[in-house]
C-alpha cells in the first residue's frame, strides 16, 4: 500500500528584542553563563513581570505578514509545570487568546532543476502566541548545569495546520518562515543559536484517504538536517509499524541526531495538566486599529512578492532571483545599484557572482556581512557603466571589481589610475593584428575555409598582447577585414 504522511509543525521563534519579555535585562546570544539575569528573570520572591512593548508589536507584525487575524485584546496565562530551567515553575504564555489567529505561509518547493522555479503553495497557520523562553540545561553525567541567560527571552510559538506531506515541504516551510522573519527584522532565526526551534506532529494514512492517523509529536528537530532526517525517519518508522501490524502509539518522541532515530520520551510527568489560568500579575493589551496599521506600514515587501517582481520587472532568470530575493539587504542593494545605472542584468550578475564570491572569501565565520562591504551600490553601477561604454572589457572588469572590493575605490578611479582603458585605436590594433595573422597561418586558413570559431585563437593572441585592454568587438572587426580583404 502507498502511504501519505501528514505533518504539522510547531515552531518557536525567538523575537529580536534588546531586552527580555517581562523585564529590562538585556538578551543576546553568546554571553557568559548567568550574566543576563535580574531578580525578575530568576523568579526571586516578590518579582513581577512587565510586558515588553516591542515583543507584542513584533508578534503582531508576524500576524500581519501571514494574514492572520490580530487579537483585539491579548491576555497572558500561566502554564504551570516544573522543570529546572523554568525559574517560576510556570511559563507565561497565551492559552485561549493568542495574539495571531489563522493566516498562511507561502512556501516554494524545489523545482525540477536548480534553475527552474518550483511550485508555490501555502501552509495554513493555526495560531501564533507570545510566551517566554526558559533557561538552558547542559547535561553532564550525574548532574545538569543551568544557565538562565535565555530565560525570559520573548518567543513566538507558531503552530501550523497539518498541511504538509513531506519533509521537503516542512523544510520549505521553515525556509520561508525564516526568510519572512529576517526580512521584517522580527528574528534572526538562526537554528544553531536556538533562535528557531521546531517540533513536528507526524502521522500517516493510506494515500488518497482523508481520515488522519494517530499523530506522534517529534521534539528536538533543532537543525535544518534534523528537520528533514527526523521527519523522514518517523514517516518510515510509522509505515514499518503499520506494515508489521503494530498500532501507532500517540506519544512524544525525541529526534536523536547522533543515532539518527526517534526515541520515545517516557516522561515522569503522569499527564500534562498545565492548569492554565490568566496571569494576575499582567494586564491585558489592546491593539488599536491605529497601532496595527502603524505596524503594517513598517513591513517590507515580502520575499516571494519581490521575486515575482524581479522576474517580471527586470527580466532576471530564476537562478539570479533565487539568490537575490531571499536576502532583503542584497536585493535592496541590487535595486539601489539599478536605480543609479539601469542595467539590471549585468548588475545582478555582478552581485550574484563576483560580489557574493568575494564576500564569502572575506568572511572569517561565514560570509562577510554586506553592511561591512566596501563596495557600495554606486560602485557596482559605475563598474557596469564602464563595461557598457566599452571603456573596460568584462575581463578587466573582474580585476577592477576585486580591487574595488579591497580598497573601496570607485571603478573609474581604479581604471584611470592604472590605465586599464580598452584600446579602440584601430591603427595601433591593425599593426598588431597584421603581425599575428602573419605568424599564425593555420587558424587563418581554417577561418578562410569556413570555420568561424578559428578566429578566436587569433583574438586571444591579440588580447594577450594588449593585456586585455583591446576592445574585443574592435579586434574582431579588424581581424575579419584584414583576413577577408
Amino acid at each position: 500500500m502507498k502511504y501519505e504522511a501528514v505533518i504539522g509543525l510547531e515552531v518557536h521563534v525567538q523575537l529580536k528584542t534588546k531586552s527580555k519579555m517581562f523585564t529590562r535585562a538585556p538578551y543576546y546570544y553568546g554571553a557568559p553563563p548567568n550574566t543576563l539575569t535580574d531578580p525578575v528573570v530568576l523568579g526571586l520572591p516578590g518579582t513581577l513581570p512587565v510586558m515588553n512593548k516591542e515583543a507584542v508589536h513584533k508578534s503582531a507584525k508576524v500576524g500581519l505578514i501571514f494574514g492572520s487575524q490580530i487579537a483585539e485584546v491579548c491576555k497572558w496565562d500561566r502554564k504551570n509545570y516544573f522543570y529546572p530551567d523554568s525559574p517560576k515553575g510556570y511559563q507565561i504564555s497565551q492559552f485561549d487568546q493568542p495574539i495571531c489567529i489563522g493566516g498562511a505561509v507561502e512556501i516554494e518547493l524545489p523545482g525540477p532543476s536548480r534553475n527552474v522555479m518550483g511550485e508555490h503553495r501555502s501552509v495554513r497557520l493555526t495560531r501564533a502566541h507570545l510566551e517566554e523562553d526558559v533557561g538552558k540545561l547542559t547535561h553532564g553525567l550525574g548532574e545538569s548545569l543551568v544557565d538562565f541567560n535565555r530565560a525570559g527571552a520573548p518567543l513566538l510559538e507558531i503552530v501550523t495546520e497539518p498541511d504538509m506531506h513531506t519533509s521537503e515541504e516542512a523544510f520549505a516551510f521553515l525556509t520561508s518562515l525564516r526568510m519572512h522573519m529576517v526580512y521584517a527584522g522580527i528574528s534572526d532565526c538562526d537554528m544553531e543559536k536556538g533562535q528557531m526551534r521546531c517540533d513536528a506532529n507526524v502521522s500517516i494514512r493510506p494515500a488518497g484517504t482523508m481520515e488522519l492517523g494517530t499523530k506522534v509529536e517529534i521534539k528536538n528537530l533543532n537543525t535544518i538536517s534534523g528537520v528533514r532526517n527526523g521527519i523522514d525517519y518517523e514517516i518510515k518508522r510509522q509505515i514499518r509499524c503499520i506494515e508489521e501490524g503494530e498500532a501507532i502509539v500517540q506519544e512524544t518522541r525525541r529526534w536523536d541526531a547522533e543515532k539518527s532515530r526517534t526515541t520515545s520520551m517516557r516522561s515522569k510527568e503522569m499527564s500534562h495538566d498545565y492548569r492554565y489560568f490568566p496571569d494576575p500579575d499582567l494586564m491585558p493589551v489592546k491593539l488599536s486599529k491605529e497601532t496595527v496599521e502603524g505596524l503594517r506600514s513598517e513591513l517590507p515587501e515580502f520575499p516571494y512578492d519581490k521575486q515575482r517582481r524581479f522576474l517580471e520587472q527586470y527580466s532576471l532568470p530564476f537562478t539570479i532571483t533565487s539568490v537575490l530575493c531571499p536576502d532583503r539587504e542584497l536585493s535592496d542593494y541590487f535595486e539601489a545599484a539599478v536605480a543609479i545605472y539601469n542595467n539590471a542584468k549585468s548588475i545582478a550578475n555582478l552581485i550574484a557572482n563576483d560580489l557574493l564570491r568575494e564576500l564569502a572569501e572575506a568572511g572569517s565565520h561565514g560570509s562577510l556581512p554586506l553592511s561591512e562591504c566596501k563596495v557600495k551600490p554606486e560602485h557596482i553601477a559605475g563598474l557596469v557603466k564602464l563595461i557598457d561604454e566599452g571603456i573596460i572589457s568584462k575581463q578587466i572588469a573582474q580585476d577592477v571589481f576585486i580591487q574595488m572590493f579591497k580598497t573601496g575605490h570607485a571603478a573609474d578611479v581604479i581604471v584611470r589610475e592604472q590605465g586599464l582603458e580598452q584600446t579602440s585605436d584601430t591603427s595601433e590594433l591593425e599593426a598588431l593584428c597584421r603581425d599575428i595573422i602573419t605568424n599564425n597561418p593555420k587558424p587563418v586558413e581554417e577561418f578562410k575555409g569556413g570555420n568561424e570559431k578559428a578566429i578566436n585563437a587569433l583574438k586571444g593572441q591579440v588580447m594577450k598582447r594588449t593585456q586585455g585592454k583591446a576592445n574585443p568587438k574592435v579586434v574582431d572587426d579588424v581581424l575579419k577585414s584584414l583576413i577577408l580583404n
Binding site: P39, L42, G43, L44, P45, G46, T47, L48, P49, V50, M51, R78, N80, F82, Y83, P84, P87, K88, G89, Y90, S144, V146, F148, K268, S271, D273, R275, Y276, F277, P280, D281, L282, M283
Partner: protein, 487 residues
C-alpha cells in the same frame, strides 16, 4: 500617666525629633531595650539587628542636624513583615524553604522607606507565606498576643501586630490578602489599613495571591497609618497592577469633619459574630450617629460567598506562585534525591509547612483539568458579583462599617487543625480584597477578658483619605490609642 518613649506614636516622636528634644539614636535604643525585655515572651521578630538599626538612627540624626531630614518618618523605626524583600537581609516568608535566602534586591516599599529616612527595623514574624490568621503557621516561632500571651495575635501579619501593640516598633508594614493586616490589628488593638488594590506597589512582596495581595500600614494611631501610607503609596512601573493615580496628602485628609453616610450591611452582623464584638461595633456606629452621620441599613447580598470564593482564588494563585520554590536557584534543597524531579518533590515536602501544603493541594485541584470551570472560573464570576454589590452600595454611602473579626483574639492551638474554622476568621475582611477596596480596622474597645476589639470601614476605590478621616474622627473621641497591654 507618662507615656514611655516606646509607646509614643510616630507622629509624636517625629515632632520630638524635629524639635531636637529627642534623637533617633535614643529612640532606637529605647525600642531595642523594650524588645530585649519582652521579645522572649512576645516573639514578634524573626530577626533584628540592633547595631544596624542604631547605625541607621545615627545617620538620621546627622541628617536632621544638617537640616536634611527627609520627612516625618526620618529616624522612625518601621517594622517589616518578613515577606518584603530587603537587600542584604533574609527574606524567609516564615518558611523553612527560604530559611537561608538573602534578598539581593529591595521591595519598592522598602526603597520608599529608605528614601524617607525610616529605619528598617527588624523582620517580623508571620504565618508561612502569609497563609493563616493566627501566626501559628510560622516555621520558626510562635507569636503571642501582647494582651494575653496565651492568645494568638491574629495573622498573618501577627508579628507586625504584636510588635506595634507591645511597643517594639511604633509602626510596621503588614500585608493583607484576605484580612492579614486588619484582623491582627483588630486582635492586637491597633490600626491596620489595607489600601486599594494597586495603590501600593507589590514589587518585592513575595506573592501569596497576586490578585488580592496588598501592603499596608499597621500603627497605634490613624495619623501614623496616614504617615506610613503616604510614604509607600504611588505608582510603580515594576508592578503592572499598580495604579497610576496621584497620591493625595493623607495627613491633610484627616481634617475632614464629615458628617458621613455610613452603610451597615446586615450580612455582617449575623450568625457567628460574638456578642461582645457586636456590642462594641454597635457602640461605634451609635457614636457616628450621634455625630450627625447618617446610618443606612444596606445589603451586600453575595457577602456570604466571599469565603468560598476567596478559598478558591487565593489557593489557586498560591499554588502557582509557590511553584518557584523548587530547590533549584535559591530555596533550600533536599540532597537526598535521585534526580531533578525527585529533588522537587523532596525539597518541597521538607521545606513547606502543613498549611502551605494544604493550600497548594487545594489550589492545584481547583485549577486542574476538568475542575477549572466549576471552581476557578465560577469563583471569578462570583467575585464580580461581590464587587458589584459594593459598587451599588457606594452609590448610596461613603463607607461601609462592619466588625473586623467575629471574635476577639482566640487561644493558640484552638483552630490550627480545623482549616474551615480558621478560614471563617476572615469572613468580614475578605470581601475588601476580592473587590479591591481600601479597608481599615480601628480599635473600639476591650472585651470582658481584656482583649481588644476593632471595627472595619471599607471605602470606595482610592478613598483611603476618607477612611482615615472617618477613623480619625472616632479615634479623637475615644482614647484607645493610649491603651496598652501590660507586659
Amino acid at each position: 500617666m507618662r507615656c514611655e518613649l516606646f509607646f509614643k506614636t510616630a507622629s509624636e516622636l517625629s515632632s520630638l525629633l524635629d524639635s531636637g528634644e529627642l534623637r533617633s539614636v535614643e529612640l532606637m535604643q529605647s525600642i531595642i531595650d523594650r524588645t530585649q525585655a519582652i521579645e522572649s515572651r512576645v516573639g514578634a521578630f524573626i530577626d533584628f539587628d540592633a547595631d544596624e538599626a542604631l547605625r541607621e538612627a545615627s545617620e538620621s540624626d546627622k541628617r536632621r542636624e544638617s537640616g536634611e531630614a527627609r520627612g516625618p518618618l526620618d529616624g522612625i523605626p518601621v517594622g517589616i513583615k518578613n515577606i518584603l524583600a530587603i537587600r542584604g537581609r533574609k527574606l524567609t516568608c516564615a518558611s523553612k524553604i527560604l530559611e537561608d535566602f538573602v534578598s539581593p534586591y529591595d521591595a519598592t516599599t522598602v526603597t520608599k522607606l529608605r528614601e524617607a529616612g525610616a529605619i528598617l527595623w527588624g523582620s517580623l514574624n508571620m504565618d508561612e507565606f502569609a497563609m493563616g490568621s493566627s501566626t501559628e503557621h510560622s516555621a520558626f516561632k510562635q507569636t503571642a498576643n501582647p494582651w494575653n500571651l496565651d492568645c494568638t495575635p491574629g495573622g498573618s501579619s501577627g508579628g507586625s501586630g504584636a510588635a506595634v501593640a507591645s511597643g517594639q516598633a511604633p509602626v510596621a508594614l503588614g500585608t493583607d490578602t484576605g484580612g492579614s493586616i486588619r484582623q491582627p490589628a483588630s486582635l492586637c488593638g491597633i490600626v491596620g489599613l489595607k489600601p486599594t488594590y494597586g495603590r501600593v506597589s507589590r514589587y518585592g512582596l513575595a506573592a501569596f495571591a497576586s490578585s488580592l495581595d496588598q501592603i499596608g500600614p499597621m500603627a497605634r494611631s490613624v495619623e501614623d497609618a496616614a504617615l506610613l501610607l503616604q510614604v509607600i503609596a504611588g505608582h510603580d512601573h515594576y508592578d503592572s497592577t499598580s495604579l497610576d493615580k496621584p497620591v493625595p496628602n493623607y495627613r491633610d485628609a484627616l481634617k475632614a469633619k464629615g458628617p458621613w453616610k455610613l452603610g451597615v450591611p446586615k450580612e455582617y452582623f449575623g450568625e457567628g459574630l460574638s456578642d461582645e464584638v457586636r456590642a462594641k461595633v454597635e457602640q461605634a456606629i451609635a457614636y457616628y450617629k450621634s455625630e450627625g452621620c447618617e446610618i443606612v441599613d444596606i445589603s451586600l447580598p453575595h457577602a456570604d460567598l466571599a469565603v468560598p470564593v476567596y478559598y478558591i482564588i487565593a489557593p489557586a494563585e498560591a499554588s502557582s506562585n509557590l511553584a518557584r520554590y523548587d530547590g533549584v536557584r535559591y530555596t533550600k534543597r533536599s540532597f537526598k534525591t535521585r534526580d531533578a524531579i525527585d529533588m522537587f518533590f523532596k525539597s518541597r515536602e521538607e521545606g513547606f509547612g502543613q498549611e502551605v501544603k494544604r493550600r497548594i493541594i487545594l489550589g492545584t485541584h481547583v485549577l486542574s483539568s476538568g475542575y477549572y470551570d466549576a471552581y476557578y472560573l465560577r469563583a471569578q464570576k462570583v467575585r464580580s458579583l461581590i464587587r458589584h454589590d459594593f459598587m451599588q452600595a457606594f452609590n448610596e454611602v461613603d463607607a461601609v462599617i462592619t466588625p473586623t473579626a467575629p471574635t476577639p483574639a482566640f487561644k493558640r492551638g484552638e483552630k490550627t487543625d480545623d482549616p474551615l474554622l480558621m478560614y471563617l476568621n476572615d469572613i468580614y475582611t475578605i470581601s475588601a480584597n476580592l473587590a479591591g477596596l481600601p479597608a481599615i480596622s480601628v480599635p473600639c474597645g476591650l472585651s470582658s477578658d481584656n482583649l481588644p476589639i476593632g471595627f472595619q470601614l471599607m471605602g470606595k476605590p482610592l478613598e483611603e483619605g476618607s477612611l482615615l478621616a472617618i477613623a480619625h474622627h472616632f479615634e479623637q473621641a475615644h482614647d484607645f490609642k493610649s491603651m496598652h497591654p501590660s507586659l
